[in-house]
């Protein structure tokens, strides 16, 4: 695995691999999200209890999955950066933060909008909602560190260590509904007893999740390319013969 890391740690090599992937992801993600939205808003049936408000699930749950997955990716990339000092992984981690902020904000906002008609309130301080809010603040903290230090290596290590510390929140979010009594429902898809929702609802849910995943990969590759080009421009501008 380390051999592959070394091979693609070179920005030039990484970009030659990333460019075609980015183009494919851009087209495919728009297609999958569009089909997902058609299923979510038009073709999926209303719930027998929640009626039409169940449609919020098709954006809330995939956004929440993405927030956790992006954080896990930042955590993993930070470990690789801190242990093996691959700068490309630090760039990957840093460029994922803004996307993570957007998806976490989406999960919080849509959850709140779903909560009002189903629970009768926009917000409760239960374990799942609170731990998710903490995740949002960790993302904001990472963004703050990134913007404060810009290209200093001190900032890189501060970013890496905060990403590691924040990783402890992921299992708390996942198991909060099992460990504590929460208003938020327990897991209905990623659970030991198998999936407990109807297949008509699973199709838009998975389509939106896959669409969001592809969108994440697309935005990440665009952002990494911007970052690498910015570094190249700064390097050439600061060259003594310029």
């Amino acid at each position: 695995m380390l051999k592959y890391f070394h091979k693609y740690a070179n920005p030039g090599k990484f970009l030659t691999l990333a460019l075609p992937v980015r183009k494919i992801m851009g087209i495919v993600s728009i297609g999958v999200v569009t089909v997902g939205l058609i299923f979510a808003l038009f073709l999926s049936p209303p719930d027998y209890q929640q009626k039409e408000t169940v449609r919020i699930m098709y954006i809330h749950v995939p956004a929440a999955w993405m927030s956790l997955m992006i954080y896990a990716f930042i955590f993993f990339s930070s470990v690789v950066f801190l242990v093996w000092k691959f700068p490309l992984f630090l760039i990957l981690a840093k460029e994922s933060v803004t996307i993570g902020v957007i998806f976490t904000f989406t999960a919080l906002l849509t959850g709140s909008l779903w909560g009002k008609p189903t629970w009768g309130t926009y917000w409760v301080w239960d374990a799942r909602l609170t731990s998710f809010l903490v995740l949002f603040f960790i993302y904001l903290g990472l963004k703050l560190i990134m913007d404060s230090f810009s290209y200093s290596s001190k900032g890189d290590y501060a970013f890496g260590y905060l990403a590691l510390i924040g990783g402890f929140n992921l299992p708390i979010i996942k198991f909060s509904v099992d460990w504590w009594n929460t208003l938020h429902q327990p897991a209905s898809i990623l659970r030991t007893g198998g999936i407990s929702i109807s297949s008509e609802m699973l199709i838009p849910l998975f389509l939106m999740a896959i669409g969001f995943l592809f969108l994440f990969i697309y935005i990440l590759l665009v952002s990494v390319e911007i970052n690498l080009k910015k570094r190249k421009i700064i390097y050439y501008k600061n060259k003594p013969d310029n």
Binding site: K51, R55, I59, H60, F105, W114, L215, I219, V222
Partner: protein, 50 residues
């Protein structure tokens, strides 16, 4: 036909929650994509100048 469209928009009286839940996040995500794409274009232009 118009009644069906109006019923769909009304979402059984929950239109505010459902449409806001879709509109704000999708606007945010696609605006961010547009911003990043235009940044990349600018970088490419600047890079060729150097």
């Amino acid at each position: 036909m118009i009644d069906e469209i109006l019923n769909f928009i009304n979402m059984n009286g929950h239109s505010f929650y459902i449409w806001t839940a879709y509109f704000i996040p999708l606007t945010l995500i696609f605006s961010y994509i547009l911003i990043q794409r235009s940044k990349l274009k600018r970088m490419k232009k600047y890079e060729t100048k150097i």
